[in-house]
C-alpha cells in the first residue's frame, strides 16, 4: 500500500535518471562479481563446455570397433578381410565364427560385424543377386550403426572396384564437395553452437536466479519502493549480465578460433551484433521466469526446462530441425537459440551472409521484446 501511495505522490521522481541508473548498475555489478558462483558460470563453465565440445562430443565415428567374421577360407576372402583392417575408420577384430562376435555386440564391445560367407568366392564369380557379405550392426546406437553400415559398404565397394580392372565404369558417379567444412569435422559445427548454449546459461539461468533471489528474500519489493523506476531497476539488474555474457562470448570465440582451430570467416562486428541481439531474448526470458517463479528452486527448474534444454535440443545445434515432426518444428520457432545457432554456424564457417542474419536478428529481437513485455506486466502487477 505504501508503494502505491508513494508512486502517486512523487511521479516526477520515477522518471529515468542516468545517475541513479549508474549507481544501480554499480551495485548490481559488485553483487554479481562478489559471488564466486557467477564467475564459475561465466568463465569456467564456458571453457569446460568448449573443451568438451571440442574433444568429447564428437559425431565423427573414428576407430569404430567392428568384427570381421571370415567364414570362407579362400584367398580373395582373405584379401577383403585385409582391406578391412587397412581402413582408418574401423578398428577391426577378426573371428572365424559368428558366435564369437554376437556376444560382443550385446555387451557393446563391438558396434557391428561383417560376415564374409562360406560361399563368398562363388557369389563373387556368379554375378547373381546374392549379396557378397552380410553386415550386422548394433542398432541400439542408431547413428553409429549408420556409420558402420556406410563404412563397411564403402570398404567392400572400393575393394571390388580395385579387383575388376577391366569392368565397365559406374554409370553415375557423385563427386561430393563439402563446403565450409571440407574436413568434415563435427567439432567445427558444434563449437559455434556451443557458444549459444553458454550464452543461454548466462543470460537466462543466471538472471532468473539473481532476480528470483531478490523476490524470495523480499528485497525486490524494497528496491521497487525506492524512487528508482521499474525500467531503471530492470536495466540496472540486466546490464551487468549483458556485459558478462558478451565478455564470455568474446572469450569463447577467441578460444574457438585460437585453440580449437575453428575459422571465423565472417566479421567480428557481425559476431558481436548477433550476440548482443541474442542477449535480449535470453535476458528477457530470465527476467520473465524470475518474475513468475519468485523462488530460486522454481526459477532454476523452469530455466533448465525452458531455457537450457531447448537451447540444447531444439536449436539445431546437435539435432537437425528438419528431421523433427511438424508440431515440434513449429515449437522451435519460439526458441531464440535456434536463430542464434544458425547465425553462429554461418558467421564462423561461411562468412557474413546477411540473408541469413537479418531474418534471424529480427526473430530474436521480436521474441525478446515479447518476453520483456510480459515480464514488465508481471512485475508491475505485483505492486498493486
Amino acid at each position: 500500500m505504501s508503494v502505491a501511495s508513494e508512486r502517486s505522490v512523487a511521479p516526477e521522481l520515477r522518471r529515468f535518471d542516468l545517475q541513479r541508473l549508474l549507481a544501480l548498475v554499480l551495485k548490481e555489478s559488485r553483487q554479481a562479481l562478489r559471488d564466486p558462483s557467477t564467475l564459475l558460470i561465466a568463465f569456467v563453465l564456458p571453457v569446460v563446455l568448449l573443451l568438451l565440445f571440442a574433444y568429447a562430443v564428437s559425431l565423427d565415428a573414428k576407430d569404430v570397433r567392428v568384427g570381421v567374421v571370415l567364414e570362407s577360407p579362400g584367398a580373395t576372402a582373405q584379401e577383403l578381410a585385409a582391406a578391412f583392417s587397412g581402413t582408418r575408420f574401423l578398428d577391426v577384430r577378426f573371428a572365424h565364427d559368428r558366435r564369437e562376435v554376437e556376444d560382443a555386440l550385446v555387451s557393446g564391445a563391438l558396434r557391428g560385424y561383417v560376415v564374409i560367407p562360406q560361399d563368398f568366392e562363388q557369389r563373387l564369380a556368379q554375378r547373381g543377386h546374392e549379396p557378397l557379405v552380410q553386415i550386422v550392426t548394433d542398432g541400439s546406437y542408431p547413428n553409429t550403426a549408420n556409420y558402420v553400415d556406410n563404412y563397411a559398404r564403402g570398404v567392400v565397394q572400393a575393394w571390388r572396384a580395385g579387383l575388376e580392372v577391366g569392368a565397365p565404369p559406374q554409370p553415375v558417379v557423385l563427386e561430393p564437395r563439402f563446403w565450409f567444412n571440407p574436413e568434415l569435422e563435427s567439432r567445427r559445427a558444434l563449437i559455434p553452437g556451443a557458444i549459444a548454449i553458454v550464452m543461454t546459461i548466462i543470460g537466462t539461468m543466471l538472471t532468473a536466479l539473481v532476480v528470483a533471489r531478490e523476490w524470495e528474500r523480499g528485497t525486490m519489493e524494497a528496491v521497487l519502493s525506492t524512487p528508482a523506476s521499474v525500467a531503471e531497476i530492470l536495466i540496472g539488474k540486466l546490464l551487468p549480465y549483458f556485459v558478462l555474457g558478451m565478455a564470455s562470448t568474446l572469450g569463447a570465440a577467441a578460444l574457438a578460433v585460437f585453440a580449437f582451430d575453428v575459422p571465423l570467416r565472417g566479421s567480428l562486428a557481425a559476431l558481436l551484433l548477433l550476440s548482443a541481439v541474442f542477449m535480449v531474448p535470453a535476458l528477457g526470458q530470465g527476467l520473465l521466469i524470475s518474475s513468475l517463479a519468485r523462488n530460486q528452486f522454481l526459477a532454476a527448474q523452469i530455466a533448465l526446462f525452458t531455457g537450457f534444454l531447448p537451447a540444447f535440443m531444439l536449436s539445431g545445434f546437435l539435432y537437425e530441425i528438419d528431421a523433427m515432426p511438424a508440431p515440434i518444428r513449429m515449437a522451435t520457432r519460439i526458441v531464440p537459440a535456434r536463430y542464434f545457432v544458425s547465425s553462429l554456424k554461418t558467421v564462423f564457417l561461411a562468412g557474413d551472409i546477411w540473408a541469413v542474419f537479418l531474418p534471424n536478428l529480427a526473430a530474436m529481437a521480436a521474441i525478446g521484446a515479447l518476453f520483456f513485455l510480459i515480464a514488465k506486466r508481471a512485475t508491475r502487477k505485483s505492486l498493486e
Binding site: 543377386h129 552380410q134 550386422v136 535440443m313 539435432y319 551472409i353
Partner: protein, 372 residues
Amino acid sequence: MAGSFFSFTRLRAQFIKEVLSVLRDPRSRMVVFVPPILQLLVFAFAATLEVRNVEIAVYSQDGGQWSHELVQRLDSARFIRRVHRVDDPQRMHAMIDRGEVIAALSIPGDFSRAIAAGGSGKVQVLVDGRRSNSGQITVAYLSAIAADVGAEVTPGAQAPAPAVTRHWFNPNLTYRWFIVPGLTGILALFSSLLITSLSIARERELGTFDQLLVSPTSTPEIIVSKSLPALAIGTALGLFMVAAGVFGFGIPFTGSFALLLASLVLFIASVVGIGLMISAVSMTQQQAILGAFAIGVPAVLMSGFATPVENMPLVLQWLAQAIPLTHFLVIVEGSFLKALPPGEALASLWPLALIALATLSLATFFVRGRLQ
C-alpha cells in the same frame, strides 16, 4: 546419549519435513513432475540424428534421359521434402549459403551422352558442411539413388550388391528407441541433483541450518533425511519415464526389470551423494544451483548420450567411467533393447555401486565438516 545417535521417530519426522519442503508448494510440486514428463514427450520426437524432410537443389545443364531419371528419383525419395530446380549456378550457391538446401546437385551438359557412350556421368554434389553429420548421411542416401540409376543403365550386367545389412536390436534404426531410455536417466539426474543440492543450501540461506544444529538430530539422521526424498522422487520419476517408454512409446523392453530397478536406485543414490556434496560447500541456493549445473551439464555431455563414449579421446573415456550416468545408460539402453544378460549388467552395476559408495561417503564427510 546412546539413544540420541539414531532414532527412527526423529528420522521419520525429519524425512516428512524434507519431503514437505520440496512438495508443499503446489508450484514446486508441479515443477518437480510436470516439466520432466513434458520434456520426455518433446525431446523423444525432437532429438534425432536421422535425416528427413530435407530440401535439395538441382542445377541441370543436361536435357537427356538420364538426368531426367535422376531428378525423378530425387523427387520421389522419401527423405527429401522438396527438390528445387534452379537454372543458374549463382542461385544454387546462394541457396547453400542461406541454408535453404542441404545439398545441391550440378549435372553437367554431357551427363546423358557420357552414360550412353558407356562412360561415367559425373555429378557434382555441393554439401552444406555446417551440417556435417546430416550432410554425410545425405550423401550416402544420394549415392544409393545414383546406384539405382546406374543399375537401370545396365540392367543385364548387374554386379551383386556389395552387402546386405541387418540392424540388430532396432531394425529400423528408430532414433527414439535410443533417446527415450537415455532421457529417463538424464531427467531423473537433473531433478534429483537439484533437489539435493538445494537441501542444505536452502537451510543455510534461510538461517534454519543453525536451528538444525542445536536440535537433537544427529549427522547420519540429517544425511539420511536429506537424501531419502530426492532418492524417492528421482526413482519415482525414472520409473514413470520407463513406463512411458514402454507403454506410451511402445519401445520393446526385453531385459530384467528387477535389474533395472536396482541400478536406477544405485544411480540416483550416487547422484544424491554428488548433490549433497555440492550443497555442503555452497553458501547460498544460487551457488548450489549453479554448482549442480556446472557438474550436471558436463556429466551429461560425457556420458555417451549425445555422442558415443568411444568417439572421445582415451583420457576422457576414463573420466567418463567416473560418471554414474555413463554406466546407467549402458544398463537402461541394454535393458530396453538388448535383453541385457545379468552378467553384462553386473559389469556396469558394480562401478555404479562403487561410485554411489564413494559419493555418499564423501557427502557424509563434507556434511559432517559443515556441522562442526
